[in-house]
Every structure is written in structure tokens, then in C-alpha cells.
Amino acid sequence: MVRVSKEIMQKAATLLSDFLVCPLSKQPLRYCEESSSLISDTIAVSFPIKNGIPCLVPRDGKILDEEDASKPDNNLYDAVNEENKGRNS
């Protein structure tokens, strides 16, 4: 059992480093073991991992900062839209 989970962890690690980035900033993600979530440090947002499947839709993300935590998720979505556009241009 332990071996299997180690394998899964290894797999997840290669997946993370080889392919996945933050959907909004396109910067690398960091795996947080404590909360079992993926954290994008550049925009301070955490994305959950449910049953081994990382959820990287912007709406699933949670803003990490204390002061921003009171804001609804919609703001994140809009703010991030803007950012994405800036990146495209």
C-alpha cells in the first residue's frame, strides 16, 4: 500500500514538473503536502487535488492571503481574466 502511494506521488511529481503550470500566470506550481493542494506562488492561489486529480479551473482556486480571503471568488476570476489578457497581448 505504501509502495503504491509512493508510486503515485512520484507520478504526480513528474506530471507536475513536466507538464502542469498555473492556468492563469503559466508559472510553475508547488505541491503542498499539508493541504494536498497545488499552490501558484506568483498569484498566491491554491488549487485542490481531489482523489488524485488536480483541479486547475480558475474557479476552483482559492486566494491564500488573509486580507483577500474575504473577497468572493468572482473577483479572483475577473482579476485573473485581466491578467491573462495582459499576458496574451
Binding site: K11, L15, D18, F19, L20, V21, C22, P23, L24, K26, K50, N51, G52, I53, P54, C55, L56, V57, P58, R59, D60, D78, V80, N81, E82, N84, K85, G86, N88, S89
Partner: protein
């Protein structure tokens, strides 16, 4: 109406590059992506194991891979009919790493169960990610192949989604996509309009706007793909009645997700639609046909090994000389 909406699609994305001051206001959201996610969650439970339409389209799309000599060690599979695609992709030896992405968690869970149940003897490493095509969480220059089977026609920013796929590809990577075209469900479009005019005295969009064939090539070149190829297939599916058509659409997760949709549908109007559909389009054997137009798009990411036209005016030999040269030889 369809063309107008598509125009606004382009406008929304082009304005994003010009100025950011009013970009949030000018962003046009045609589709409700969250609603689409919920619909796909529902479809994950309703979808039959072998949907003939989805399988035909998936097989047709993957046929294109047979014509290519290049191998694709890593592949990214986006939304739409995931199950059919992943099942046939896994049987290929050339693909070592497969990333399956969809906006719906339930859909992925179903694919994952399917994957574990198949007791995979092959060595394709499959990974599942919940993601949105409009915000692709894939590193630049990381995959050799991007496949999207019947998913991209639900994106608000189709050019943007295709540009992101292009960026995710390695040089000389292949982009393969199938989307539903403007002729899709034309019978239902007509029946809905007539029924609404008759019962409610006005019309509201019931069927989503779709891209036209002539736009598909432009989309590919706009996204920066080389050697673009577009072809179209029309499938006619026969149903017992219009109600069964709606059931099928629901099971595929292809029901209306317009953000400005009129959420009220009167029972009266719905029944009138079914009756009009039946009287206008029913064939002799009592079944009703529905058209599905599928646009297949192929594009390659730029690479030095690909053929390309020479610069205009760079020719050093006149065509006249060539003619005399070859004329003398023969």
C-alpha cells in the same frame, strides 16, 4: 445570428490585445462555462458506454494519426468525447504519456474508473487533470500532440483557446480538433423557431451559435498553425422522436449553455417543437433525422523541417525559361 455572434467572438479577443482599460467590459461571454461544467457532470452519469456518434467522430479524428509518420511520445487530450478518444489512444504504442483534461470532475472520474477497470497491460502513463480550455494549465513546449474531440465549440474565446494549445505544443507538434459546425441541428433550429413564433409570438436563442466551415481555416492560421487542413463531415442520426434527440444531447452534454439563455421553456412550446419537427422533417419510416456537421481541423506548430513558400519576389528563374527548358527536353 450565428455569424454575428462569431464576429463578436473575434472582436472580444482582438480587443484584448489592443487595450486593457475596458477589457473587462468588452469581454463577451456567449457561453456559461460553469453551466457547461454542470451539464458535463450530468452527462458523465447519463452517457452510454458506446455512443455511436461520439465513437464515429473519435475514430475519424484518430484516423488522421495513421497518416502521420511521426510518433508522439506525449499527448494531451481535451474535453468532449473523452472516453472514446482515450480508449483508442491507449492502444497505440507510440504514446507514452497521456494527459486527459476536462472541465468536469465527474467525467474524469468516470474515465479514470474506466482506465483502472481496463487493467492496463500497456505502458501508457495516463494522468487526469481538471482544467478549462480557455485557461490551459499546460507548460509551453511540453506535449507532442493535442487532441480535442467535440469540446472546443463551447469555448467563449475559440482563437484564444487554440493559441494556448499551440503554445503548449512542442515544435513540429500536431493539433487535431473536431468541432460541431453551423449546419448542426438545423432541423431543430427551424422547429424551435417556428414553435416559438407560434406559441410565444417571438423567438429566443435555443441553439448555440457554431463556427462555419470557412472560419475554421482562418482560426487555424490566426492561431499560428502551419500547414492547416480543414475538412467537414455530416452525420445524420435518426431518432424515434424529437424528445429522444433531446435525451441524446443531454447524455452527450451538448445541451444549450448560452449565458443569455431564457431558462423558461413552456411545456406547450416544447411539445409544439416536437410536433413541428415531426411534421416537417419526419422520413417515411417514421423516424426523425438530425444533422450533425463536424469540422475536423489539423495544424502543425512551426518547425524548420516543414515545407514553406519562398519569399515573394525571390524567384530568379522566369516561368518562360522553364517552359522552353522542359519544352526542349520532351
Amino acid at each position: 445570428m450565428m455569424r454575428r455572434t462569431l464576429f463578436s467572438l473575434f472582436r472580444s479577443s482582438s480587443s484584448s490585445s489592443s487595450s486593457s482599460s475596458f477589457s473587462t467590459n468588452s469581454k463577451v461571454n456567449i457561453f456559461d462555462r460553469q453551466l457547461k461544467r454542470n451539464q458535463r457532470d450530468r452527462a458523465a452519469w447519463l452517457m452510454p458506454q458506446n455512443d455511436p456518434l461520439l465513437h464515429t467522430v473519435a475514430d475519424n479524428l484518430l484516423d488522421r494519426l495513421q497518416d502521420v509518420k511521426k510518433t508522439f511520445p506525449s499527448a494531451l487530450c481535451l474535453g468532449g468525447s473523452l472516453q472514446a478518444i482515450t480508449r483508442s489512444l491507449r492502444t497505440r504504442d507510440a504514446i507514452q504519456k497521456l494527459i486527459v483534461m476536462d472541465a468536469s470532475y465527474d467525467m474524469l472520474q468516470r474515465c479514470q474508473n474506466d482506465y483502472h477497470a481496463s487493467n492496463n497491460p500497456d505502458n501508457t502513463e495516463t494522468m487526469f487533470v481538471v482544467g478549462d480550455e480557455e485557461f490551459l494549465p499546460i507548460k509551453e513546449n511540453s506535449v507532442d500532440l493535442v487532441i480535442s474531440c467535440l469540446g472546443l465549440h463551447w469555448t467563449n474565446d475559440l482563437p484564444g483557446a487554440m493559441i494556448q494549445s499551440m503554445l503548449a505544443l512542442k515544435p513540429d507538434g500536431l493539433f487535431l480538433a473536431a468541432i460541431l459546425g453551423g449546419e448542426t441541428l438545423k432541423e431543430l433550429r427551424i422547429a424551435c423557431t417556428v414553435a416559438q413564433m407560434e406559441r410565444e409570438g417571438g423567438i429566443s436563442p435555443r441553439i448555440s451559435p457554431l463556427a462555419q466551415v470557412r472560419d475554421a481555416g482562418n482560426l487555424l492560421t490566426r492561431a499560428g498553425f502551419n500547414l492547416p487542413g480543414v475538412d467537414v463531415d455530416e452525420y445524420t442520426v435518426k431518432y424515434e422522436s424529437a424528445l429522444e434527440l433531446i435525451e441524446h444531447l443531454r447524455a452527450m452534454g451538448e445541451t444549450n449553455a448560452l449565458s443569455q439563455m431564457n431558462t423558461m421553456l413552456k411545456r406547450d412550446t416544447a411539445l409544439a417543437t416536437a410536433a413541428i419537427y415531426d411534421s416537417m422533417f419526419a422520413s417515411e419510416d417514421g423516424t426523425v433525422p438530425a444533422t450533425f456537421q463536424v469540422i475536423y481541423m489539423t495544424g502543425w506548430k512551426e518547425h524548420s523541417s516543414q515545407q514553406k513558400p519562398k519569399r515573394r519576389g525571390s524567384a530568379t528563374v522566369s516561368f518562360k525559361d522553364i517552359q522552353t527548358q522542359f519544352g526542349n527536353q520532351s
